[in-house]
Structure formats: structure tokens, C-alpha cells
Amino acid sequence: MKHYEVTGQKDTRSGFGVGLLEIGHKNSDVVGLCADLTGSLKMDAFKATFPERFFQVGIAEANMMGLAAGLATTGKIPFTGTFANFSTGRVYDQIRQSIAYSHKNVKICASHAGLTLGEDGATHQILEDIGMMKMLPGMTVINTCDYNQTQAATVAIAEHYGPVYLRFGRPKWPVFTDTKQKFEIGKAWLVSEGKDVTIFCTGHLVWKAIEAGHQLAAMGIDAEVINIHTIKPLDAEAVLESALKTKCVVTAEEHQKAGGLGESICSLLSQKAPTPVQLVAVNDSFGESGKPEELLKKYGLETENIVAAVQKVLEKRGK
């Protein structure tokens, strides 16, 4: 299992803020919109640097999506910022009609996704957003794993034409990917090569999968860890290649089982290369208040759950 050095503890949303400022300098068509959460989304620097290209829309997310669609019509590249729940479920029809169906180049940037939002509880901890967004034809869906990857992804989506859902989170989290990485939309990242089992992981759970990989190595199990940061379009080639090699798969994500990365992987494998799979994800449940680590433990998204899932899938496959 490859070793990754943790260079700091930073929130992924701050990576978004830095990335947005960076592309704001590079491309004058980039505009930002925010629904009364500028500080939470780390959009302050963009707002201060490009005040004429920043639109405070107030607590009116439906209007924000429409404004973004209109700005995109004129050739701007709008980045909308609010919590993941208000970026998706609250405005699903606005995104569907005015952005996705109308082919608008809008970047829907969503913070505070998943359980790790913590104490605010289930009203804000959306666990269905990946599913909703990946069902929309033409929508690119990205869930980043650390500060650096989020910064790189923010820059990359500005250079990609088409609607994108970029999902990140609230808590400080280990930073372990390269600072100068090039983010390739739709291209899986081989975190660590292995031969016994593949762990496909996304978002905050990539770090948990790496931890699990080390624990498994100590048990004599050589896990391949692959980061699927782009859930749609899925890197089918990378998924199939690894699954055909290891012949058993675990998926790990901070999302419902229904609609998430695990479901996308299962759908692909069942059609192209039937393989035993174990899903580490929330099982048809809302979240609740608590500390991020407490919640990940209670809802079965911890390192130990990934290790247990690997053991189970190895049993299913048979040695």
C-alpha cells in the first residue's frame, strides 16, 4: 500500500475558494453567485477581488439557478455556491429545465455535503445529491477528496464546457494529494496498486480507504485503491480493468447506497463483468446531529467498515 504524507488538515471548501479565485484571475468570463453563504463557501476572496462579477442573491436558491442559466446564456461561466442540499434537492427542477435540458455552462458548487457536515443534523446532511445529479442527462458529477484536489477540480471545470455538479464538504480533513496536480474530469486516479481487492472510493472516504488499505496490508491483503472523483461520466475502462484483475470490489462514499458511486459501479459491473461487490455507504437512512467522526462511525462509514467490507467480499468471491 502506497504511503501518502499528510501535509495538513484543511477543509475541501477552502480548496474551492482558492480555485475559484485562481480561475477568476485567469478567465474574466467566470462569475460567482452565492445564496447568503459567502463565508461558508469560502467565496469571500473572489467577491473582494471581482466585486462586479460576484452576485449575492440572498436566500433564494431557485432564482440563483435561473440567474446562473441566464448568465451562461450570455457566455459567462457561472459558479453557484450554497450547501449541497440547497444546491440540488431544493432546486432540482430549476437545474433540470433551465440548466441541464437547456445545456447551460453552469457550475453548481456544493459544500457541506454528507454526514460530515456534523452538528446541524439531517436537514442539512444531504445524502441523495449524487444520485439526483447523475440522473440528469449531460450532467458531470464530481466529488473531491481533499483540499488540493478540490482546488484543481474547480479550475478544471471552468475549462470544461457543460453543466457540472461539484460536491465538497465542511470539515478539516487530511490533505494528501499533490498541490500542483492536473485534474482530469472523468479519469479515475489510481491511488495505490494492488491485486487482491479493489476499493473504489470518492470524497472524504478516499482517506478512509487509504487507512483501510494499510490495515489490510498488515493482514496480508493487497488492496488496490482507486479514487473515482468523477462519478459521471464514470471511467468505465479503469473500473473494469481493476475489477477483472482483483475479481472483487468494495465501494466507499458519504452518500446513500441508492444513487451513489456504489450503484454506478454495480450497474457497470453487472452488465460488463459480474463481480462480487460490497457497498460502504449510508443504508436508506437520514443522518443526525453529532461530530463528523461520531457520525461516520455510527453510520458505518469508518475505516473499520471498509476493512470489514473487504473481508466480506473476499469471502463471497472465495479464495
Partner: protein, 281 residues
């Protein structure tokens, strides 16, 4: 500049197009379309500065129109075709498989003249406001027009946009409300009374004009006045009283013809009342 007589001829032809399109596929929305014909004709053939023969999605350097109440697509499509955005013959494909003239307007099939999908109500005001913001960033002095239904104002998103546009002085935006007083389940006064609509807009910080949308000369006068009043720090709305089904006597003044197609005999009666002026498609 077209004369009032020119515009009147267009309204007759477009009304023919509307009822023929809806009759041909036995589906679509004739009532609201007929009620807004004078508005469309005046806007597209007289008031707006636009480039029908070289349509560009971004609308830079021209006025832009957004239809929020997308179900009145027949009048929109006929107007676009008669303005030369596409061939009038294509009107015959309305609502048929593989058409660019979808039941509700869409950009998906690349129909020139359409810049956003609409049909799910309440979204067009926001999209139009976004285009107006884009024009301001580009220092483009042209105007964004949007038409919305009156029943559509029951959607909360409309008021988000109305609040936003006033607060941010989006004054290159001219909204028209098709105030026909009807919606699917009955009259708007029964369903969700629009009392004090003018006062509501004024309280939100808008300039308000009113007009009878079925009087060509009044429509022209009011749209011209609206243009003169724009760019003065406030968004502007025209509350346009119309009669649903206007120009076809048996469809007038009732919500019954919101989404119903005429039969053969009704088609004949409707066409008799609207003689061919510019050639049927």
C-alpha cells in the same frame, strides 16, 4: 417600420397558424397563444432589435426575448417563423416526433430563436434577469424582454426574481405579465386572487405600466414607453390585460381553451374569422 395595417395582417396570419398547428396534432395551447398575438407581433416586428437570420445563443448586441409561460409555444413558434428565424413550413412539425418545435420550447433540438427551455413555470423571470446581468457586464445596451403568465406568478420563484431585480437595479429588463385572468382550474380570482398586482410590483420597487394587450396601437405605444422608461434604475413590468382565445369568438374569455384543440368544424370557424394574409405554411 411596419404600419399598423402590416401588423394587423400578421396577427391574422399568426392566429391561423396557431389554430392550424394545434388542430393538426390535436394538442397544444391555443387560448393563451391567441390572447398574446398582438404582443408577439408588435414586439418581434416593430419594437425589438434582433437578428432573426443569424441567430446567436448569447444574444450579444441585440434585444433578447424569453418566454416563461412556455405552453403558449404556438404563438411563439409562429412568430419566430414569420420573423425568419426558420422556415414557416417547419410549423407543420409542431409536437411531432423528431421536431424542433417541441410541445414546450427547448434549446435541445437547436431551434433558432429559443434560448432556454420553459414550460415548468416560474423560471423565465430568473433566466431573463441573468441575461440582463450578462448584458450589463458586457456593456451591451440592449434590452431583455420576458413574458410570464398571470397564474404563473403563483410560483414563489417569480417573487425571488422580482425582489432580486429591483434590489439590484436590473433596469434593462422589461417584464410583461399576460393578465388574462384564467388558469387551468378556473379564473385566477377563484384560484388565487391577484388583488393589487400593480401595488405588489410597486411595493417590490418596480415601475408598472398597464395596457390592453389585444389593442395593437396601445401595445405599440406602451412597449415604446417601456423602452423609454428603462435604464432608469428600476426594472419595469407591463401588466397586460388580454382575453384568452382572442380573435376566435368561441374560444374567447374562457379557460376552457387553455389546452384543448379545435375539431375540424371548429377549425373552419376559426379560420373563417382569420382570413389568410401572408400565406399559410
Amino acid at each position: 417600420m411596419p404600419t399598423t395595417q402590416d401588423l394587423r395582417q400578421l396577427t391574422l396570419q399568426i392566429r391561423r397558424d396557431i389554430v392550424r398547428m394545434v388542430h393538426a396534432v390535436q394538442s397544444g395551447h391555443p387560448g393563451g397563444s391567441l390572447g398574446c398575438t398582438e404582443f408577439f407581433v408588435t414586439l418581434f416586428f416593430d419594437v425589438m432589435k434582433h437578428n432573426p437570420e443569424s441567430f446567436s445563443m448569447n444574444g450579444k448586441g441585440e434585444d433578447v426575448f424569453i418566454l416563461s409561460n412556455g405552453h403558449i409555444s404556438p404563438v411563439y413558434y409562429s412568430t419566430l417563423a414569420r420573423s425568419s428565424y426558420f422556415e414557416v413550413a417547419e410549423l407543420a412539425t409542431f409536437r411531432k416526433l423528431n421536431t424542433r418545435l417541441q410541445g414546450h420550447p427547448a434549446t435541445h433540438e437547436g431551434l433558432p430563436g429559443v434560448r432556454t427551455a420553459s414550460g415548468s413555470l416560474g423560471q423565465g423571470l430568473s433566466v431573463a434577469t441573468g441575461i440582463a446581468l450578462g448584458k450589463k457586464l458586457d456593456k451591451d445596451p440592449n434590452t431583455v424582454y420576458v413574458l410570464t403568465g398571470d397564474g404563473e406568478l403563483e410560483e414563489g420563484q417569480c417573487w425571488e426574481a422580482i425582489m432580486y431585480a429591483a434590489h439590484n437595479k436590473v433596469d434593462n429588463l422589461i417584464v410583461t405579465v399576460d393578465f388574462n385572468g384564467q388558469q387551468i382550474d378556473g379564473s385566477t380570482s377563484e384560484i388565487m386572487g391577484f388583488t393589487e398586482l400593480k401595488n405588489k410590483f410597486e411595493a417590490f420597487g418596480w415601475m408598472v405600466l398597464e395596457m390592453n394587450g389585444n389593442e395593437l396601437e396601445e401595445v405599440k405605444l406602451t412597449l415604446t414607453q417601456a423602452r423609454e422608461l428603462s435604464r432608469k434604475g428600476k426594472p419595469l413590468v407591463i401588466i397586460m390585460k388580454t382575453e384568452m382565445g382572442h380573435g376566435v369568438d368561441f374560444m374567447m374569455g374562457s379557460h376552457e381553451w387553455h389546452g384543448i384543440a379545435p375539431n375540424d368544424e371548429q377549425l373552419k370557424r376559426a379560420l373563417d374569422q382569420n382570413p389568410e394574409t401572408l400565406g399559410d405554411y
